[in-house]
Amino acid sequence: MSVTTKGPEAQPIAVVSKPPGKAERPKSALRHRLHRDRALLLLMAPGVVFFLIFQYGALFGNVIAFKDYMPFLGVVDSPWVGFANFRTLFGEAAFWDAALNTVVLSLVQLVFYFPIPLALALLLHSLMQGRVRRFVQSVVYLPHFISWVIVVALFQQVIGADGVINGTLGGSDGHLVDVIGNPDLFKPLMVMELIWKECGWGTIIFLAALAQIDEGLYEASALDGAGPWRRFWHITLPSLRAVIFLLLILRLGDILSVGFEQILLQRDAFGPDVAEVIDTYVFYHGIRDQNWGVAAAAALFKGVIGACLVFTANKIAHRMGEQGVYR
């Protein structure tokens, strides 16, 4: 016990002596540190085991993209096939359709969704009544915690063919709205659902940024004769710049992942032509049709491109003098 409790105190010394001693430090030092930290290591163990098995074990499983995976042989014993899976994948029109759908849907959602939390945050921030603001916030945060299954069910119930709007406003001469299952309206519907579910939650970070703006700036510029619009343009927007860039960059890295659950739930209603994205392609081709290697290749392709996008986006952020997501 006494050794363990000494731990954190002895720690700064260990860090200081690290550079010279790294190579020649006797083995017992490590053993001593292990002994000192044994309680912490024990606390760490379950988490580390989880990450090793379910994250890194799974990461290793990606090798089946280069194998002809046979379930009864297992990952290790299945024969290597080089890039054959990728050749098959890139020769499939269905995959390229899914990839195109993914990117287009991502961009459409970004363009139409992104400004709305910002606008809502500005509106909420401008309210003088704390009570009204709290109430509206409680209400608009709520859908974030509702599952996609329920969101889709709610949308069907309200704007579906037999839904409330058709029933009360459509009259006898047919449907006013016929959104569910109409391929032309797939993208607008996806955007609407996303806005409904996430736009309130999306305001949190903007509201925090708005709260950090120095009131003195507004006061000074107001005394200098700047009206509300000028103040908005010259103080509010520049103050939000960093946050806006950060969020845009995060989205850029995510461009190949558009709401998997949301789309999986509605893919069958709209058909794979409009509603197939890379993630649903992987699910249907890999797990449903047992086309393991090709689907794994699709997922790996997506993962590598996605990681490259994150790197690129972060580089761009640094070039533009912003903090970026990481250093």
């Binding site: 105190e9 760490m44 988490g47 990450f51 379910f54 799974a58 509106l123 996609w148 889709v152 739930l265």
Partner: protein, 304 residues
């Protein structure tokens, strides 16, 4: 809720009184926003309590029940498939959240202590998973390889620790003043004791938020059951809803093996009652945890 928030804030002297048209526009926008969120919930609630005749006559919904009836709920709670699905959902949520919270707290606490052996490589290992998350197929192979398919373990173990939640928690622990750890040490407390008696009581906010995130994640998940189980008896509520509500397969037959007397129920009332029941737990915890949202979420946003 503190009194200063409840009061009407003073408008600073330099700020202009907004024009009536601006105020009107703001008011309308807010009312519209709130209605857009609330009305769908109301429709579902009203439909679930409406008599089936009315729902059928309307074509599948009710805005105001002619007569409030709990027939749909009685049917659900009579011990059929849906009752079972609700038990599965509740069990997975409670057990999964407990396991997740305990493991996340332990790992976050160890990683938050400066200079622990292996702390840095483990943190890098975890941050790396943000860049390369485990994919669906490899995860499936792992779960399959461990023989966890068609067990309830598969519904929570593969997502036991969320890296984002871990980073949030670690950030919070790191913000606790070092003097507290030192005084605990002087009093002779070991790490576990420090964690339980000093750190946990100070971290209620972050534990509440992270716990809610885990619980909501487990409660809302429909996909892991599809991926990892073959039998519908293991389905949680959301998976059941996906099949019978969203994909509109007739739930009437499956409620209780198609007993003929139940034909009189409009499936839509039952479906909507299930939606209500799936929403209620979230509505119940939400008000208690809501005040911690901003704090918890922002800690995470700043740290990552």
């Amino acid at each position: 809720m503190s009194a200063d928030v409840m009061q009407r804030a003073e408008r600073p002297a330099w700020m202009e009184e907004p024009r009536p048209i601006t105020q009107g526009f703001k008011g309308l926008t807010l009312v519209f926003t709130v209605l857009v969120v609330i009305v769908p919930f109301w429709v579902v609630l009203a439909t679930s309590f409406a008599p089936d005749k009315q729902v059928i006559a309307n074509g599948g919904y009710a805005l105001w029940p002619d007569r409030w009836t709990t027939n749909a709920y009685d049917l659900i709670f009579s011990g059929g498939q849906i009752t079972r699905a609700m038990l599965v959902s509740g069990g997975v949520t409670v057990i999964g959240t407990t396991f997740s919270l305990v493991c996340t707290i332990m790992l976050a606490y160890a990683l938050a202590r400066p200079g622990v052996v292996g702390g840095k490589p483990v943190m890098l290992l975890i941050l790396f998973t943000f860049l390369f998350p485990a994919g669906m197929i490899p995860s499936f192979l792992v779960v399959n390889g461990m023989g966890m398919r068609n067990t309830y373990w598969a519904l929570f173990l593969p997502v036991l620790i969320n890296a984002f939640n871990l980073v949030v928690m670690r950030g919070f622990f790191q913000g606790i003043p070092a003097e507290l750890f030192e005084s605990a040490k002087i009093d002779g407390a070991g790490e576990l004791r420090t964690l339980v008696t000093i750190v946990l009581p100070l971290s209620k906010a972050v534990i509440a938020v992270v716990g809610l995130f885990y619980a909501v994640g487990y409660w809302n998940d429909f996909f892991r059951a599809i991926l990892y189980t073959d039998q519908a008896t293991m389905w949680p509520l959301q998976t059941w809803m996906r099949t019978y509500v969203v994909q509109s397969q007739n739930s009437l037959i499956s409620v209780q093996g198609g007993v003929s007397e139940q034909i009189q129920f409009a499936p839509q009332t039952v479906n909507m009652a299930v939606v209500v029941l799936a929403t209620v737990p979230i509505l119940c915890v939400y008000p208690f945890i809501q005040r911690y949202f901003t704090k918890g979420v922002l800690t995470g946003a700043v740290k990552s």
